[in-house]
Structure formats: C-alpha cells, structure tokens
Symmetry: D2
Subunit: 343 residues, 4 copies
Amino acid sequence: MIKVAVVGATGYTGVELLRILVQHPEVSIQMVTSRSEAGTPVASVFPNLREHLSLDFCDPDPEQLAQCDLVFFATPHGAAMALVPELLKKGVKVIDLSADFRIKDAELWAQWYGMPHSCPELLSEAVYGLPEVNRGLIKEAVLVANPGCYPTAVQLGFLPLLKNNLVDPDSLIADAKSGVSGAGRKAAMGTLLCEVSESFKAYAITGHRHQPEIVQGLNEHSSKPVNLTFMPHLVPMIRGIQASLYATLLKKDIDLQSLYEDFYKDEIFVDVMEPGLSPETRSVSGSNMCRMAVTQPAESNKVVVLVVEDNLVKGAAGQAVQNMNIMYGFKETLGLNIVSVLP
Amino acid sequence: MIKVAVVGATGYTGVELLRILVQHPEVSIQMVTSRSEAGTPVASVFPNLREHLSLDFCDPDPEQLAQCDLVFFATPHGAAMALVPELLKKGVKVIDLSADFRIKDAELWAQWYGMPHSCPELLSEAVYGLPEVNRGLIKEAVLVANPGCYPTAVQLGFLPLLKNNLVDPDSLIADAKSGVSGAGRKAAMGTLLCEVSESFKAYAITGHRHQPEIVQGLNEHSSKPVNLTFMPHLVPMIRGIQASLYATLLKKDIDLQSLYEDFYKDEIFVDVMEPGLSPETRSVSGSNMCRMAVTQPAESNKVVVLVVEDNLVKGAAGQAVQNMNIMYGFKETLGLNIVSVLP
Amino acid sequence: MIKVAVVGATGYTGVELLRILVQHPEVSIQMVTSRSEAGTPVASVFPNLREHLSLDFCDPDPEQLAQCDLVFFATPHGAAMALVPELLKKGVKVIDLSADFRIKDAELWAQWYGMPHSCPELLSEAVYGLPEVNRGLIKEAVLVANPGCYPTAVQLGFLPLLKNNLVDPDSLIADAKSGVSGAGRKAAMGTLLCEVSESFKAYAITGHRHQPEIVQGLNEHSSKPVNLTFMPHLVPMIRGIQASLYATLLKKDIDLQSLYEDFYKDEIFVDVMEPGLSPETRSVSGSNMCRMAVTQPAESNKVVVLVVEDNLVKGAAGQAVQNMNIMYGFKETLGLNIVSVLP
Amino acid sequence: MIKVAVVGATGYTGVELLRILVQHPEVSIQMVTSRSEAGTPVASVFPNLREHLSLDFCDPDPEQLAQCDLVFFATPHGAAMALVPELLKKGVKVIDLSADFRIKDAELWAQWYGMPHSCPELLSEAVYGLPEVNRGLIKEAVLVANPGCYPTAVQLGFLPLLKNNLVDPDSLIADAKSGVSGAGRKAAMGTLLCEVSESFKAYAITGHRHQPEIVQGLNEHSSKPVNLTFMPHLVPMIRGIQASLYATLLKKDIDLQSLYEDFYKDEIFVDVMEPGLSPETRSVSGSNMCRMAVTQPAESNKVVVLVVEDNLVKGAAGQAVQNMNIMYGFKETLGLNIVSVLP
C-alpha cells in the first residue's frame, strides 16, 4: 500500500485519476489538492465520488505532500515544475500528467508553452512515461512525464512502421480527433455545449503543442527526422481520441497485419484488431486500452493506421496509473482492468 | 463461485449484465445465449468485452442451461415464461429482467403485454426483486422478477411518503424521463440518432406498460389505492432516468429531509442528497446507485421528489446482480462497487 | 421599411434575432451593439451571418439608437431599463427581450432579480408581448416586454383551461424542460458540453425567476389566484422547450380536444395536434410555432397538456418579431414563415 | 412557376428537398411519392412540414409524373434508372439525387453498386451537377446527376490545386467526416443513437462508393490520373461534412490564399475563409454554402484544405435546387438564401 497525493484535482484528468485510484487495492489517497476549492469535499464537486472518497480538497502544502510516497500532478502546465524539485529532494516520486517534463529541449518547450522552464536540469532525468516504449526506464524513474493524449495515440500507431523502416519519414500525416474533455474543465465560451455540439471542425490549425512532443518521440525510432503534418479536430462528444494516420510505404507486399500483431503481442493495453475492422472510441471509453487497426487502400502505396483511446485514461490518468504500477512493481493491470461501459 | 447463464444477451440489458458479471469474483459465466447470433463471439458484437469474455453466443438449450446454478433472462417479454418452468423444475434459480413475472394479476399482464401468460401459476411464487422492499423474500426466492427501470425510480421515490401516510394517494404524478437505451437495441427508425437527438418529447402518452407495475408496487404500501399520472419522456442521451415526482401533502411542517434520510439510512444503493441539491443522471451512470432529493416549493402544499438512476444498472442489470448477491448470501455490494465515469 | 437596432447582440437571443431580421423584407438593420465586441464584424462572431450581414458591432450610443424606429434589447436584465426611458422620450419604440419590464410589481421584480427597478413608472406602460393574449394592446404599444421562454409555453398551455374555469387553480404543476441555449452564451463551467451532455437534471429547484412571471400571467385569466408548482429541467440539447402541464379537472366529460382547437383556431403560431400525438421539440426548432397536445389519462381526473416551442424563437426572438409585425401593421407572419430544419 | 414532383421523399434528402421547395417562389409541388407511405399526409411523417405542405404521399405513377416539368429523385440507387428513360421520352426533365447517373463508366458503376446499370445509354447524356464545374452544361441539361455529399466537398476543395498543377496527383488524401444523416432514414441498428452517439470511428475502410465518383471528377482536371486515399468517418451529430484534404505541393512560395479566393470569387455558394480560420460544420447547417480554408503547415511541403458543407443541402437537396435554378434560368440563389440556425 502506497500513500499518494493528487495535486490539482479539479480538472477532468484529476477526477479520472481519482476514479481509478479509489479502487486501486495498493493505493491510499492521502491528499487531494486545489487552491480554489480548498475546504470543499471532493465529492461535492464530483458527485460520482460520493460514497467513494471522503476527503476535502486542501492546499498543496509541500511539507504534507512530502509525507506521501508518490505525488501525481494533474495541473495546467507550469505548476508542476514549481513544486517538483523540492519533492524530489525530499525523496518523493512524481508522475506529472501535465506537459512540464515531456519535451527534452527546454528552449523548444519555452517556445511552445510561452514561459521559460524553471528547472531544465530535471528534463534529462524525467522519463517519458510511454510504457510500450520506456518500460525499463519507468521502473527506475523518480520523475515520470506522462505523455499527452494525442502523442500517445499517434506514437503507438506509427511506431511499428518507423521502427521497421517501412515508411517514408517525410510523408507522415496524423488526422486526429478528440472529444471535448480534452479542452479541460474551466469556464470558457468555446467549449459550451451550444458552441460545440452538433458541429465538427479542425482547430489549432497553425500549430498544436502536442506536435513537438510527437515529433520528439517519433524521431527516436526513425532512421531520419520525420516530417509530420498533425491536424487536430474537435468531436461533439465528451471522451475519446481517434487518429487516422497516413504514410507512404517504401516497400510493397508487406504483411502489415502480422507486423502490428507481433509488435504489440505482449502489450496488454494495446489491441490490434482483425483485418477489416475499424476501432470505435466508445469501445475504449473509461478503459486504458489503445485499440488500433492497420489497412492499406487498394492500388495505393499508402498505409492507414486507425487508432483509438480514451483521452482521459490511456491518454492521461490510466497511463499514469500504469506507470505507477510499473514504478512500484505492482501487476501492470492492477486497478486498470476496467470494462468500458457500452452503450 | 456460482455458474450462471445469460439468456438473450444481445440487448443493452444483456451487455450491461455481462459487463458487471465478468468482474464479479463469485460468478463464472457459463453460457451467453442468442438465437440470432449463435456462433458469434460475444466480444465481436460488444467490443468493450474484448479481452474480458471469450465465449461465443450459443442457442438457449434447456439441458445446458440446467447445468447452471442461476439463469438470467435479458429477453423481450414472452421469452422467459416459456423456459422458466422447466428450469425451476430442474432446480435452477432464475432472475428475470423482463416483464414476465412482475405483475401478479395474469389478466392485467395479458392486457398490457398483448399475449396470454403461459405460466400464471408461477406468478405468486415469483418475488418482485426490489431489495429495498423485499430483501427478506429475495433471500429465499428461486424466481425473481427484476423490476422495470421506471418502476424502480418511481417506487423508491414515493415509498417514504406513502408508507408514512403523508400524501394524498389520489394526487400522485410521476413525470419521468429516460435516455434512449431504454428503448432497447434493435433496428428501428424511431430511435435513430437523427430522429431523437436534439429533440425532447413525451411518449406513450396513452399508457405505458410500467404504469400497472408501479401502481401494484405503490398500492402495497398505501392506505388506499393510488391514482397515479405517469408520463414518460425521451431524453437525447444514452443512459439515465430522472423522475420528478409530485404529490399533495396531507400535513404541514413535516421534516421531509429527515424522513427520507432515515428511511434509506441502511440502504447502500439509495443516496438521499443534502437540501437544495438536485441529482443529475450522470452522477449514477454505470453505477447501481439510486440518488434522490426531496423538496417542497415555497407556499405550496406539494412535495417534489427528484430521483435518478441508471436505467440499465439500478433499473435493470445492476439490480439483478444485487438480487443475485442477496439470493446467494454474497455481500450485497459485491461486483457493484462501481464509480461512475465522469465526465 | 423600418430602421431597427439590436442592443446586446452577442448572446443567443441576439444572433437568433439577427437571423430572422436579415431576412425580413420590411426591416433595415442599422446598428448591432455590444460593448465588449465593438469594432468586430458581427459575422466573425457568428459565422452563420457571413454573406448576410456586413455590420460591425458598435457601442450602444443613445443618440445613434434614437435614429432608429425601433430598438430591440437582447441584453441581460438590468441593461434595458437604463436606456429605455431616454429612447422612449425620443420617440423610439422598444421591444425588450430581457426581463426588465415583464413583472408589473416593481418590488416583486427587485426581489427576484436582485436589484431595484430603475424606472418603475414605465411598468404600467409596458405591454406584455404575448400576442395570443394581448394583440390589441401590442398594436398600440411603444414598449413591449417580450415574454420569457418558459412563461410563453406554460401560459399558452394552461390558458384554455383557466379561462374556462375547468381546473382547480390550486393544482397546477408545470414540469418544464429546456435545451442548454436557455442558459445563454457566456463563459461558464456549468454549461460546458462535458458538464451537461449525456445527463439530465432538475435545476433552480428552490425557485426560478420565471415563476412570478408565469403566475402573474395566469392570474389574469383565473377565477382565483393560482398555486403553481414549476420545476425546470436541463436537457442535453441546444434548443427547445417542452412543458408537461398537469392540473385537476373540476368537471367530467369535457371535450378537451375541441376546446383547445377552438381556443387557438385563429392563432397562426399555435398548433394543436390531433388526439394521441405528442409534440417533439425538433418539430419547431428554428420556427415560431408553439405546438401542443392535450390528453387525459385513463380513469383519472387529471388533464395533461404537452407544449413545445423553440426557446430562442417563440420563446424569444421570433415572438419579438411577431410583436414588431403587430406594432407596425405588417402581416403577422412576415419574416416568420420558417420551416424547421429536420432532421 | 414550374410543376415539380419528388419521388421517394421519405428519406432525409427528400424532406430536406421539400423544406427548400415549399418556400421556393417559382415552384409548385405537385406530387410527393412513396410506395410505403402512399395515402399518408407528408406532414404526418415530417412534422416540420405541418402548415407548409398539405399533400399526401402517393405512388410514383409515371403518367402523373409526366405532367410535371421536373422530377426529382430522392430514392436509393437503382430506382431512378428504372423510371428516368420513360420520363425523358415524355419531355420531363430530371434531377437525380441518387447515384444512378453519376459514374460515366457503366461497368465501374455496376461493380460498386452491385447491380447492372439498366440504361447505360443515358450516362453520356447525364450532366454531373456540380455547378462550380459544369454550369454551362447544366443550363442545357435534361438529366442532371446530382453529386454525392463527400464528392462535392472533396472536389471543390482539391480543384484549385489540381487545375493549377500545384500538387502531386499521387499524393492526395481526403480524411472526411460526416454526420449520421448521411446514412439515411431507415430502420437500422448501426445508426441508433445508442450505437453512434458519444463515439467516433472510421467506416467503410475497405472502400466507399463515393471514391470512384470523386476520382472521376478529379481526373477531369488533373494532368495525370490521381491516386486518392479516401477515408470516411462517422461523427456523432446529425448534419454536416468536414473534409481535411492533404496533398504534396510541387512548388514553393505559392500564395495559396489568393489562389483559392480568386478561384471561387464568382461562386456565391463557395466561401473561402480568411487565413488562420477553420470552418465549422454548424456555420453551414441548413444552408447551401460550401465553406473552406487553405493552410500550409510550417516547414512542410504539404497543403491542407479544410472544407465543410451540410451533407443534406450543398451535398444533396440544396445543390439539386441550385441545379434546377440554373436549368430554368432562375436566379441561382432563389429559394437558397438561407441563414444557418446557430446555435
């Protein structure tokens, strides 16, 4: 049983993390912090937690946080990097669900996130928490940078192709679609039901912060730097990411189906579907599964990979718990053996 | 560990039952039947069950069903009553999620369901599976008639008032609203997304089959027969029932809040909210909770009770598992300690 | 051709008013005001108006407004009453879509709207703009208080019963449901898609501002003061109000169907459906129609009236244009002969 | 004033056509046919047409149809080609909204639509009704093949690039997304609200019937045959198509914004947005507009075109009326000057 805290738990990533942690048999939630809601019962903000969690929100006091074994940050970018150095010094482990430690290049980070990085010296120490790529490093990590939602889907989809040098790294296109929960829980006009339901659009068309994170991850497994066209879209639904990935094949007559099945045969949270099937986001809603299919259009040298995940689970809170399980030597599926609610 | 079968599992009640049963520690699912899908893997119809259930649908063979301890029927009305007598004779217990054994009066049943009842002799033996009312009888039952979705919400909401003779039994109004999953999973024009999303309406305005079931249940606890106006409405969402219940108070200055809290203080699956709060369906989505609030409009002799439940869980599959737990002496919350996914 | 201005047009009522006015053959839109968006093209805030309206938002300068024949206020409450006295003095007519002039009793208004009324002397002059009740007065009015969305539906539904003394005025219950656009267009957590879609709840359970407005209107046509239980609910959709109205009949054997058909036979924007039908909100979406059905549950002394309207059209902007048509002697349907988009 | 009939008007394309035609000042609707609904008032199937259309559905009798000037077919494929030859002989003009006359190659048509073409001799006579390409031919046509929904969006988006030889014809990718109304109005499990809302997926991943239609259209304007990867997706909303189009640029430093603006400067139903904007489907809902934006990702040789339309209007019924206007010399916008309802 480990003692954990969740810092900044008033957002959708936070409540999802709490949903999973309250049912995790090896976790005791000690603190749930929020400056704005300090003193309020967590369950009065999130009624799904009534009867499941009796804590109040409290301030993120470093002394108290230091009494936990592990602290999760579910904060907007910029918040974790202010507290993490002190916590690490005190021997606390950290899983940061925000973007603060995902990009290795502090200047690139500053350019995309609009502020200088306050502890660039920790960037090399932080382990990028994509278990399918970095399981060994995560096991030893004291600071895990939990991947973004789009980056998880896009990297897992492209990796089998890039690692096997099967596609032109210059040809990558990721047409990605997300439910509205990806925009977070904050008073905002742009994500009102009346503004986004019954409509569909591309957004962030001049550049999205997940682009450099994806490129960094893909480059590690590519023979030469990739050129990625990444276009995110907003879907009128709450949860789910679907990414349709396109690339130009360098060879003909590759058995892509076997390639993908083999690549992920030992990964419990990646499911490669049978030929002809298309993954739907609802099939992974609330679960930590990343489900994909690979297909090749007739008379074409393109490959198409279709990937779905729940942006708040495998794309955020679930992957964070998966990382925790790895760090503490728990069974990787502990607390994550969730069946999606359907319909 | 008991051996169970689910008959007629291609509907929404069926898949929800499977979602709960695959994670129940005392249950082994032996058979999942469907005449139309026999031979097909269950998980290919319901992709949320991939990795969680490896059975194929099979025909509902009575001999094989008889090798189970317990058979759930998640069939349209008329199907269970054809098989149940034989199963009971063979010593199998039955929980019927359909309407076949809910109404005690066979003629009344025939009138509302449009067919004669084929085994009226079992109607007195069947126990109406509303644990908050019939827990003792359920414990001893061999045949449980699992309540309808609306009847569960409306009865639980009105019971504290009726049992305490606080309202005029002639004045009852239940304005109930259901998500579309209540209409079932079948090819039908009326529940296409394009027909029911972005719209709201009352339906079945000349009479709904749940009316006699609710009245039968309320009458058992009323000093005189109730007169209930029951109006169901269709909400453009998948899951959830909300019922706003209205009645005329017979006395003044009753502490309704305390009355409700006391009435349900030992019920783990009924949650009475604090004064001023209004239950929302999403707070119980996927969970077995029935959440309610009681309020009295200013300068009025009316009481209003607001009740929510997930129509597929407390209104169907979850309540069925709750009944199973009671029948077999398992902890009543076993397999049902589910946190709603929010958002 | 009359010259009109719309004050406070950044909300949903405002854009709906513009949608109708840009196509009205007797209207020239001179000014569209918004303090926050002054200088911005209206069509850049509301892309549906690209190619249809080339004005920029401007400040609500009284001198310029005074050069119009008619000014619409689509502002939050409190704004219209600050400008209206000056405009009326300058001979400008006003249709106020906000709540400022709906309640005749200034103290009651202050109590519900949380501020003193700044020009109570105008309250008696203001005509309540429900054409089916006040057509004659509207024709002569210089200041029209456009009714609220719920009040329009509830009053039109109850009036035939009350005016004919058919129901107990003490027994009125209005269970009303609204799409989310009723909450307006403003940055707010409570109406984010992720907070309100896939859920249903009652709200404002301790009292809603439309209650006194409805009661005031009903009392004018009731033999004695009514006692109304009004319970609003939030539906996960953009547009539409449905109200299920309940009352206890004082007599038996009344031909309610004929009564309603006769009562509204000359009203172009009220449609009484045939027996057995239930109106759905989508059938009036975008149109100025109020559609209703009347029914009586079997073996009951209750009457149920089902009413639908588009909260932004007959419940706001459409009714305002209907009032304008009456005030200026245009055909009442001019610019309002809109067919709902279905599906 | 011309006399028109709509054959097969029980689908979504049919009701949308009726919505537009009932308000068209130069059209008199003579017949609305449906074999299954013959004798039923049209407005009882489509309540938005109450008060706007008093016809009953009737059988598609060729003698009676021949008394019209123009017949629209809003039928499933295979139905129009059975009646069209006879109607043309009798001097009736036809606009076919189905797929029967879109593909010039009868064998290719048969391969994709699973039946032989019954009047291949008419294929060369049929004019493909994309006004932005074929306006001159449409003016003289007696038989117009109204384009499919996806083909309209994808062709209008790619044409400026292909006609100017700016992109590699081998590199075309169309990632297209459609609301559920594209699947039509028929009893089907796959498009139930409970199956498709709150989810997103690619579909028809092994080939979609609109692929050969798009390729045929693009090839007419390409220096060499195109290779198109076309991937359709289902969006949980009723109306709207969004297509994100990708291609590899052959040249650098092209002013794509000016190119698109110039290309469509005389097209009233194509709107090229300002740089940095992204079109949203709701901005064209119910209207005949095709709205697009062109953008180029930083440090990339790709161009991205974002296109939206209402699949039932510019993608079907609206374009049909636009074609009718051209054929009969009416103003091209007559009856089509519709402002989208927003929100």
